[in-house]
Amino acid sequence: MRRCLLGFLLLWLTPAWASDAPRVAALSWEATEHLLMLDVTPLTVADAGDYRAWVVRPTLPAGVPSSGSRLEPNLELLAELQPELIVIPPLLEDIRPLLERIAPVQVYQGFSQQHDNLQVHREAFLDLARALGREALAKQRLQAMDAELVQWRERLRAHYGQRLPAVTVIRLSSPTAAFINGPNSMPQHALALLGLQPAMDLAPSPWGITQVPITALGRIEEGVVLHIEPFAQEAQLFASPLWQAMPFVREQRFAAMPSTWTYGGVFSLQYLAEAIGEALLKLPSESGKRPNRP
């Protein structure tokens, strides 16, 4: 423990000597996020460039090299970099024997409709912290996140009063089709943590998303719809009369939320909650609560 704390200090104070910093390779973006939140700079990250473009937060230092794709990380490069630990997603379970020749491997459970994705990610984060001897820091980070979420909840209550609107988060894929984040998706977990109900009932799926024709969105009679930016054909879709006639657009129960990665680890929840919260605070306080049930 002391050695790790020392290492932690060294990492922060004198990067030049930081030979004690753990050399960990992250072959998935969840693992990258978790490492960064444990204040460990990964030795290498799969698809590092795309991580910087799509996941964005937490920030990956510019010097960290890519180790190939997340589907087929470059084994020879990994061997050359000599990591002490490799963190892999379940997708790579079948090449585990190969990776184990290079360094010890830690695998965590992935997205599945059989279990609660959030709980699984929390445990994966704590497991990783345990392996790196940074449990105290991990718990501290989780508590900080929980506190942050409580704050957002209070801000929403202050804005909307006791009855919060139901919310559905979508990602537009073309002017005629949209992905809906349903049960077990990270956005829905973020909604639940903020005390918000889903505005559209869907069957659970492994990745938590379902693609529907755009007209299906017209069936969302009440509640708020948030769309995750960016969407290239925004101008074309948003100007169309059909879109303008969607109940949630007509009644101004629609807002954009800033680009946020929706398949991240534990802390992506915090970013998602922030994005959802910010979008909801922009809407008038009566949004999504129109039908007053007794």
């Binding site: 890519s66 061997a79 090449i95 089709a177 529907v212 755009i214 017209g218």
Partner: protein, 658 residues
């Protein structure tokens, strides 16, 4: 059926169109039949009313317009070429359009979002131009055109898959288009499309005369004062225009253009004008029907089901059924490859040996690392990671070359190979089904078994259909086309779902040595050596069957049994390779031909040389895939398909121009 006169046939079809249009409208508006009626009667502008007005009605119009355009375009193409297998899909227009759009989206995304159709149009035109060049004047009317189109489809498909795979995050929105979706949100596309389809009017008025003259034969037509080539060229361009704008508007919807003219003919359309008009009508009916099915599936599953997937699902079996009825005659014409040397000399042998040594050195020793290139003997750890891939690639190459050679000799068809005949597509389709049914979790375990079952099933169909038609090249190619298109539609459908499993599947489809374990590599090598040795045992039989069934039988061979045994051998070999690597196009086709061009014309030397060439080519492809965009890797299947495919197309064009 042929007894029905033309006017009443048209009338009957129109009458069938009406209830189908109502059904389609009802499904698209997502309403009950009575609600629909009430909605039409009421004046209130609810969301449902707007949905009917701005989504359901445009969709209906779109289905009718594109269906008619595709039907007309297909009929026009088939009548010009006098070739019942021609359609926008079979001559490479669709895959050209798809590649054009993928490229535009990756290179200039803002342009692609607004003007992507021009990229699609350009891609389609270029692809078809190349195919025409390959087939040449004499080949347009026959199998060469279709085979050239098929080769182009495979090549462009591999290129597009590679691009999508390397840029997996950026191409999401493309997939819905690629899967062919008729969904509309306003009248924009209908208004965009209909003026461009007005070209159909002069075509319907002016085309029948030259086309009926063509029916008499090119010489007769010229004898009556028809300037044959200019007229054909103009009509050809008109047909391409019709199908390109339709593809641009609704995405990849295959089969309509191929099936409708054939159906029209079957239902009694005899004259050129009748066939054109009736094909347009029938195309509208057919697309409306398939789109209604897609809508129904959508409603039942609660998920987006693209219309293109439905069209392929219905189209592929119908095409096979049609083929069974119509294709008896053997078409001896193939594609022309350069002839090459008469015998395999020492000089060529030296070159091949040198190339093999070079490939082996490069594959094992030359690699990229953190600090650039280095040529060195790998460390024990790197060696243990590298040799299974190298061995897998080499054995797979040899195996594919052997199976290609066996097929080419057995079927007396220079273009036979596992990918052209659909064996690879069948294996892939089975794997994809397994993925949909069992999910991604057990993918690794189920994939090899599914691949094996898939290629065996295709082989069984080939044998059943083939025996009646003496394994005619046209039939074989047709089966490959049907399966390939079915596979493509299924692939687009799975991709459009956009889940993480899609990319795992795309990775497998690309054909990669990445996941090969030492045990698998060794098994593959043993298997390929074993099957190769077995094939050598049959060399006398192969030589005789290659000359003709009669010759072989007169020398005391049991031809049907020998053919069966050898075909099963091929299926096993193909399944073995495909289950480990995924599909690799062109290699099995090309390696035996290069061997012949180097002068190895008898079975034994050709087999040995083709196998070594296949191995060397795959070694190099694997190495290129590992190093080209380091640290990312391009799957060997894509590299091999693109390299060998480009070379094959180059050879075909050279053979044509020579």
């Amino acid at each position: 059926m042929a007894a029905v006169s033309a006017p009443s046939r048209h009338l009957l079809t129109l009458l069938a169109l009406l209830p189908l249009a109502l059904l389609h409208l009802w499904l698209a508006a997502d309403l009950g039949p009575f609600e629909l009626w009430a909605m039409l009667a009421s004046a209130e502008h609810s969301f449902e009313f707007l949905q009917l007005q701005l989504s359901a009605l445009p969709r209906l119009s779109m289905a009718l317009l594109t269906g008619a355009a595709l039907g007309l375009s297909g009929s026009l193409l088939q009548q010009i070429t006098q070739n019942r297998l021609v359609s926008p899909m079979t001559i490479g227009a669709s895959s050209g359009a798809w590649l054009g759009l993928v490229l535009a989206t990756l290179l200039v995304p803002t342009f692609a979002a607004s003007h992507g159709h021009w990229a699609a149009l350009l891609g389609a035109l270029l692809a078809v131009g190349l195919v025409l060049l390959i087939a040449g004047r004499s080949g347009i009317g026959g199998l060469p055109l279709v085979l050239g189109g098929m080769a182009m489809n495979l090549l462009l498909g591999a290129l597009a898959a590679g691009l999508v795979l390397i840029n997996n995050q950026y191409t999401q929105g493309l997939f819905v288009w690629g899967a062919g979706d008729l969904a509309q949100i306003d009248w924009h596309w209908v208004q965009w499309l209909w003026p461009k389809l007005l070209l159909a009017v002069p075509v319907l008025i002016l085309a029948p005369r030259p086309l009926s003259l063509l029916q008499l034969g090119g010489d007769a037509a010229q004898g009556r004062g028809l300037a044959l080539w200019p007229v054909m060229l103009v009509l050809f361009l008109a047909a391409l225009w019709l199908c390109s704008v339709s593809i641009t508007a609704v995405g990849l919807i295959g089969f309509i253009g191929l099936l409708t003219p054939n159906l029209a003919k079957m239902l009694g359309a005899r004259t050129a004008r009748d066939e054109l008009c009736y094909s347009a009508l029938l195309g509208a009916l057919l697309l409306l029907g398939t789109d209604a099915l897609a809508l129904l599936a959508n409603r039942v599953s609660g998920q987006l089901v693209p219309s293109g997937a439905a069209a392929a699902l219905i189209g592929a079996p119908v095409l096979l059924w049609l083929a069974r009825r119509h294709l008896a005659a053997e078409d001896p014409r193939g594609l022309q490859l350069p002839r090459g040397a008469e015998r395999f000399g020492w000089r060529s042998a030296l070159w091949v040996a040198l190339l093999a040594v070079l490939a082996l050195t490069v594959a094992l020793g030359l690699a990229r690392g953190v600090d650039g290139w280095h040529l060195q003997w790998p460390s024990a750890l790197v060696w243990s990671l590298r040799w299974p891939r190298v061995l897998t690639a080499a054995s797979a190459g040899a195996g594919l070359a052997i199976s290609g050679l066996l097929l080419q000799r057995l079927l007396r068809n220079p273009l036979a190979s596992p990918d052209i005949l659909g064996l690879s597509a069948g294996a892939t389709l089975a794997v994809m089904l397994a993925l949909i049914i069992f999910g991604g979790a057990v993918f690794g375990a189920v994939a090899p078994l599914a691949a094996f079952v898939g290629s065996l099933a295709v082989l069984a169909v080939l044998m059943l259909l083939g025996r009646r038609h003496h394994y005619s090249p046209a039939l074989m190619a047709l089966l490959g086309i049907s399966l390939g298109a079915l596979l493509n539609a299924a692939l687009q459908f799975v991709l459009a779902k956009g889940s993480g499993d899609s990319f795992a599947l795309l990775g497998w489809l690309a054909g990669s040595t990445y996941r090969a374990t030492p045990a698998q590599a060794l098994w593959l090598t043993v298997g390929v050596l074993l099957f190769g040795a077995l094939a050598l045992l049959f060399q006398r039989g192969l030589t005789l069957i290659g000359i003709g069934d009669g010759v072989a039988a007169s020398r005391g061979l049991n031809v049907p049994r020998l053919r069966l045994v050898l075909l099963v051998l091929v299926a096993l070999l193909c399944a073995l390779v495909t289950s480990l690597l995924g599909p690799v196009a062109f290699l099995g086709l090309l390696a035996p031909h290069i061997a012949v061009m180097l002068g190895a014309r008898r079975v034994l030397p050709q087999l040995l040389l083709a196998a070594s060439l296949g191995a060397v080519l795959m070694l190099l492809a694997d190495w290129v895939g590992r190093t080209l965009i380091f640290p990312l890797q391009i799957p060997v299947g894509i590299v091999a398909s693109v390299l060998c495919g480009s070379y094959f197309v180059y050879l075909l064009i050279r053979g044509r121009l020579a």
